[in-house]
């Protein structure tokens, strides 16, 4: 087994006196597709935001290739350029066209030249099926289209690990499919992904590791088979049965 890309050790996060995450431990190896599931308010998104240092963890370590990025002595911008993030609300740059959204990080952060950046942006936009829309502004796109561009923007940075924060939760049901399809394709290509999701089918069929969270702790983790077919914890069973009823 190869060395993990990311190791989260004893991670805790509190907003004031409100403890949102407690003693979180898990790791991500190259090629892993990890789904984090759990009820709203269980701390899934906060965990993902801590991993990308958008929130500062209160305690614990986030080890990225032997460096503890949560120590405060690591260049956060440089670390983030290697860890992509796709947001629930897309967060495309509204002042830039679809193409420029995918170019700007490459030229300004990775210091690539404009030609190469454009070429690679176009190839990723083609991959997500958004190449025809390169001249559009984000406001002219549907939700599903925006999210696919956001994925292309993250991919254009050629990250070692891609974080997804409920990427389909803000979408109309008919647009969920097109985004999941892209994610499925990425997973099949061996992209290392960490996905916070309410899409149980995705967690069960696509990921190779599932983390179930409840009330700020990891309640149970294992293979999709373990979690979905043979859950050990009562909370996991209850959560899953609520989802399966729908």
């Amino acid at each position: 087994m190869s060395a993990p890309i990311l190791q989260v050790n004893h991670l805790s996060k509190a907003f004031g006196t409100n403890i949102v995450l407690r003693d979180i431990d898990f790791e991500v190896r190259p090629g892993d597709v990890t789904s984090i599931i759990g009820a709203s308010g269980s701390g899934k998104s906060t965990l993902l935001r801590c991993i990308n240092l958008l929130e500062t963890p209160t305690h614990g370590e986030i080890i990225f290739h032997d460096n503890n990025v949560a120590s405060g002595h690591v260049n956060a911008a440089k670390y983030r350029s290697k860890v992509g993030m796709v947001f629930q609300s897309f967060n495309l740059f509204s002042n830039l066209s679809v193409l420029d959204n995918c170019i700007i990080g490459q030229t300004k952060v990775l210091k690539k030249n404009k030609e190469d950046a454009k070429k690679s942006a176009l190839s990723y936009l083609t991959k997500v099926g958004m190449a025809p829309y390169i001249n559009a502004k984000p406001r002219q796109l549907s939700g599903g289209q925006k999210q696919r561009v956001a994925i292309a923007r993250a991919l254009a940075m050629e990250p070692e690990l891609l974080l997804f924060d409920e990427p389909t939760s803000a979408l109309d049901p008919e647009m969920v499919g097109e985004v999941l399809e892209v994610m499925r394709k990425l997973a099949a290509e061996g992209m290392t992904m960490l996905v916070v999701t309410h899409e149980m089918a995705f967690a069960r069929d696509i990921s190779n590791h599932v983390v179930f969270m409840a009330n700020g702790v990891i309640c149970e983790q294992g293979t999709p088979k373990d979690i979905f077919e043979n859950p050990k914890e009562l909370k996991t069973k209850e959560f899953l049965s609520r989802f399966m009823e729908r």
């Binding site: 993030m85 897309f90 502004k137 002219q140």
Partner: protein
């Protein structure tokens, strides 16, 4: 001196038309340059005021930022909180007396109006930055941009669009408020009016001419600024970068082909 009001206006225009024009030119140049410089000052101050301070930053950096911010806040409050007229006198004569720095009319005028505008713009820019959705900052951070890069390429272009109406306000205010510079002898439009009115005892006529010239300048600026805002918004439509007609079928509700017929766009 002609007997009727209209004739007197024609008379002073004949006599002093060029003086009015050059006064108006001076006013316009001071207002335009100072507003531009003021905006730059405002953006610089706005960026510094919004740099996040983390508990994990080194003590030196945090201390330095705090001191710089306190100085900038003092600057903003001082120049927003006192009349520009007295600032002009204070700076013009103060710099001569204290530092032996004798500014010419242009330098003095530009310096005073710029730093005054800068103080107002600093707050406007800060407001503009706050008005941009936090998601834009997070999106920029998530691809590894630094604070400066985030500001330059993502936040400020959007903030600039949002504060354009306020920049227009400042420009128009500056066109009018340069008249206070007459206290330090700047020969702008109001100074010209005073001179003409005093020479011919035609206060009402000269004021009429001056009012009209001010109004023409401010109206022209309003119209041009509106045009610029429209251009910043960009076109409502965009072209598909493909010859594949199938692409038109996927969610192109907003795309109308080469005409503006709303029926066509909806289809």
């Amino acid at each position: 001196m002609p007997a009727t009001f209209g004739a007197r206006i024609l008379y002073i225009l004949q006599m002093y038309g060029m003086s009015y024009l050059s006064g108006a030119g001076t006013t316009l140049i001071i207002a335009l340059i100072s507003t531009a410089v003021g905006c730059l000052i405002g953006f610089a101050v706005g960026i510094v005021q919004t740099i996040p301070i983390n508990k994990t930053d080194p003590l030196l950096k945090r201390g330095f930022l705090r001191v710089v911010r306190a100085l900038l806040t003092a600057y903003v409050e001082l120049f927003r909180g006192t009349p520009m007229m007295i600032q002009a006198v204070f700076i013009y004569y103060g710099s001569a007396q204290l530092f032996n720095l004798y500014m010419d009319m242009w330098t003095a005028a530009l310096v005073i109006v710029s730093i005054n505008t800068g103080a107002y713009m600093a707050e406007t820019v800060r407001g503009g930055i706050l008005s941009i959705d936090a998601g834009q900052t997070e999106g920029a951070k998530a691809i590894g941009m630094t604070h400066l890069q985030t500001m330059l390429y993502v936040i400020l272009p959007q903030a600039l669009r949002n504060i354009m109406p306020q920049i227009g306000n400042n420009l128009i205010i500056n066109i009018k408020d340069t008249c206070v510079l007459s206290v330090i002898g700047t020969v702008e439009l109001f100074f010209t009016h005073k001179t003409v009115a005093g020479a011919l005892y035609t206060y009402f006529e000269s004021a009429t001419v001056t009012m009209v010239i001010y109004l023409i300048m401010t109206l022209a600026c309003s119209i041009i600024l509106r045009k610029i805002e429209k251009r910043m918004d960009g076109p409502d439509n965009f072209d598909l970068a493909t010859t594949d007609t199938l692409a038109h079928t996927s969610g192109m509700a907003r795309y109308a082909e080469s005409n503006d017929d709303p029926q066509e766009a909806r289809r």
